[in-house]
C-alpha cells in the first residue's frame, strides 16, 4: 500500500502541472501604429490589469511624444526643421536622440533616424494609404542630395538644427525604447514575469511558471512559425521583415526598410531576428543588419555588440551567429533552408 502510495504521489506531482489553471493576464491595446500585447504571469488579475493599464498609458504618452508627424515633442522638432529653424529638445527626447545617434554611428549610418522625409516620400509613414508605386527616381535623388545624418543635426547643447526638409523618424528605435520603459515600469510595480509585445517586437522577463517563455519567430514567406526560441530571465527578441509593410509594382516587391545609401528598399534580406537584453538596441540592430545585407551583416552586428542574430535572405537561405544557433530550434526537421553559421569578426 505504501509502495502504491509513493508511486501515486510521484505520478500526481508530475501530472499536476497540466491541470493547474493558468495564472496569466493579457491586455491588448493600440499604440505607435501597432497592437501591443502585455502578458503578465503569476500575480492576481486585478494587480496585473492595473500594471498593464499603466503600460498602456505609458505607450500612449510615448506615441504622442515621438510621432514624427503629430503635435508632440518630435512632431514639433520636425516642424521647426521644415521651417529651417533650430529646434529645442526636451531632456527626454534629447536622451533618446543621443542614444539613436550613438547607434547610428556604430552602424555606420545603416540605422539612420534622419530619414523621415524619405519615408514620407515612399508613403511608408504609418497613417498613409498603402503606396501603389515607387516615387520618381529624381525625387529619391533629391532626398539623398539633401540628406543629413542625425549626427550632423544633433548639436552638443539642447538644440537641434539641420538643412530644411530633413525630418526625424524614430521608426526602428522608438518601439524598442518604449518596450524597455514598459518592462522597467512592470518591474517597479513588482511584476517579475511578463512579456511586452509591440507588434511582434518583444521583451520577456522571468518565466511562465515552471517553464521559460516560448517565442515563435515568423516564417518570412509562409504562414506560421519558422523557429522557436526560449527566453527566461530577461531578453528582447526583435525581427525586421520585408513582409511587414510592402507593395508590389510591376512584379517587384517594395518594402519599408529603406537603405540610407540608395534611398530605396534594402535588397537581399527577407528577415532579421536579433536577441539582446536591451530592446532599443535590438530594434535598431534589426534594422541596421537588414540594411547591411545577407553577406555583410556580421561586421555590423559586431560593431553594435550584438551576438545573437538570425538572417533569412530572399532566397530562403538562413544564416546565424553561433550564439543564436545554440538558442534557436527550427519547427521543421530538417530546417527549410541551408543554414550557414557566421562567426562575428
Amino acid at each position: 500500500m505504501i509502495r502504491l502510495g509513493v508511486a501515486a504521489v510521484l505520478a500526481a506531482a508530475l501530472l499536476a502541472g497540466c491541470e493547474r489553471p493558468p495564472e496569466e493576464t493579457k491586455l491588448r491595446f493600440t499604440a505607435m501604429g501597432t497592437l501591443v500585447d502585455v502578458t503578465i504571469y503569476g500575480v492576481p488579475p486585478d494587480r496585473a490589469r492595473a500594471a498593464g493599464e499603466r503600460v498602456e498609458s505609458l505607450f500612449r504618452d510615448l506615441h504622442r511624444a515621438w510621432d514624427p508627424w503629430g503635435d508632440g515633442a518630435l512632431g514639433q522638432v520636425n516642424r521647426s526643421l521644415a521651417a529651417g529653424e533650430p529646434a529645442a529638445l526636451d531632456p527626454d527626447l534629447r536622451q533618446v536622440l543621443a542614444r539613436a545617434r550613438d547607434l547610428s554611428g556604430r552602424s555606420d549610418g545603416l540605422f539612420e533616424p534622419a530619414l523621415g522625409s524619405l519615408v514620407k516620400l515612399w508613403g511608408f509613414s504609418r497613417d498613409e494609404a498603402q503606396p501603389e508605386q515607387p516615387p520618381p527616381t529624381a525625387a529619391i535623388e533629391a532626398e539623398l542630395a539633401r540628406h543629413a545624418a542625425i549626427a550632423d543635426l544633433l548639436n552638443s547643447g539642447s538644440r537641434l538644427s539641420g538643412p530644411p526638409g530633413v525630418m526625424l523618424d524614430l521608426g526602428g528605435f522608438a518601439k524598442g525604447v518604449a518596450v524597455d520603459r514598459a518592462v522597467e515600469l512592470l518591474q517597479r510595480a513588482g511584476i517579475a514575469n511578463a512579456i511586452v509585445n509591440a507588434g511582434g517586437d518583444l521583451r520577456a522577463i522571468g518565466r511562465r511558471g515552471e517553464r521559460p517563455w516560448r517565442i515563435g519567430i515568423r516564417h518570412p514567406r509562409k504562414p506560421g512559425v519558422l523557429a522557436a526560441i526560449e527566453v527566461q530571465g530577461d531578453g528582447a527578441i526583435f525581427t525586421s521583415g520585408d513582409y511587414e509593410r510592402y507593395f508590389v509594382h510591376n512584379g517587384t516587391r517594395y518594402h519599408h526598410i529603406l537603405d540610407p545609401r540608395t534611398g530605396r528598399p534594402a535588397q537581399g534580406v527577407a528577415s532579421v531576428t536579433v536577441a539582446h537584453a536591451e530592446s532599443g538596441l535590438a530594434d535598431a540592430a534589426a534594422t541596421a543588419l537588414f540594411v547591411a545585407g545577407a553577406e555583410n551583416w556580421p561586421a555590423t552586428a559586431a560593431q553594435l555588440g550584438i551576438t545573437e542574430v538570425m538572417v533569412i535572405d530572399t532566397e530562403g537561405n538562413i544564416s546565424m551567429t553561433p550564439a543564436m544557433q545554440r538558442r534557436v530550434r527550427f519547427i521543421e526537421d530538417p530546417p527549410p533552408g541551408r543554414i550557414r553559421v557566421r562567426e562575428l569578426p
Binding site: 501530472l15 501604429g33 497592437l35 530550434r329
Partner: protein, 122 residues
C-alpha cells in the same frame, strides 16, 4: 521488502512520458486555427468557427469592417481606413495570427487549441 517495485517505477515513468508528450505537442505541429475572435470598440468580442464559411460586418470606430471566413481561414475584405493594412494582411489561418484595422479598432485573432507560443516575433 523494498519500498518501490519495478511496476511502480513503470507507472512514474509512464506519467513522465505523458508530460513530455504533452510538452512536445505544444512545441511542434498543431497550430491550425479553429475559430476567429473579432473584437471591436464598445462591443463584446464575437467568436466564429473557421469551418463555417460566411461574411460578417463588424461596426468599428469609423464604420463597418467586413471579414470573410472561407476554407478554414479569415481575412478583412473591407474596412473604412486609408492604410488598408488590414486587407493587405491577407488570409489568417494559424492559431495566434492577428490582423487589425487600427483606425477602426477592429482586431481579428485566430484561436486554436494547439497554441504553441506565448508570443510571435515578426
Amino acid at each position: 521488502m523494498t519500498l518501490v517495485r519495478p511496476a511502480d517505477v513503470a507507472v512514474v515513468v509512464l506519467a513522465a512520458l505523458l508530460v513530455g508528450a504533452a510538452w512536445a505537442a505544444l512545441w511542434s505541429g498543431g497550430g491550425e486555427g479553429e475559430t476567429v475572435r473579432i473584437t471591436a470598440p464598445g462591443a463584446q468580442p464575437i467568436e466564429l468557427n473557421l469551418a463555417a464559411d460566411r461574411s460578417v460586418s463588424v461596426e468599428g470606430a469609423l464604420g463597418p469592417s467586413v471579414l470573410e471566413v472561407r476554407g478554414g481561414r479569415v481575412r478583412f475584405v473591407e474596412s473604412p481606413c486609408t492604410g488598408r493594412h488590414c486587407i493587405h494582411a491577407g488570409w489568417l489561418s494559424r492559431a495566434g495570427h492577428v490582423a487589425a484595422c487600427l483606425p477602426n479598432g477592429v482586431v481579428a485573432e485566430v484561436i486554436g487549441s494547439g497554441q504553441q507560443f506565448d508570443a510571435i516575433s515578426f
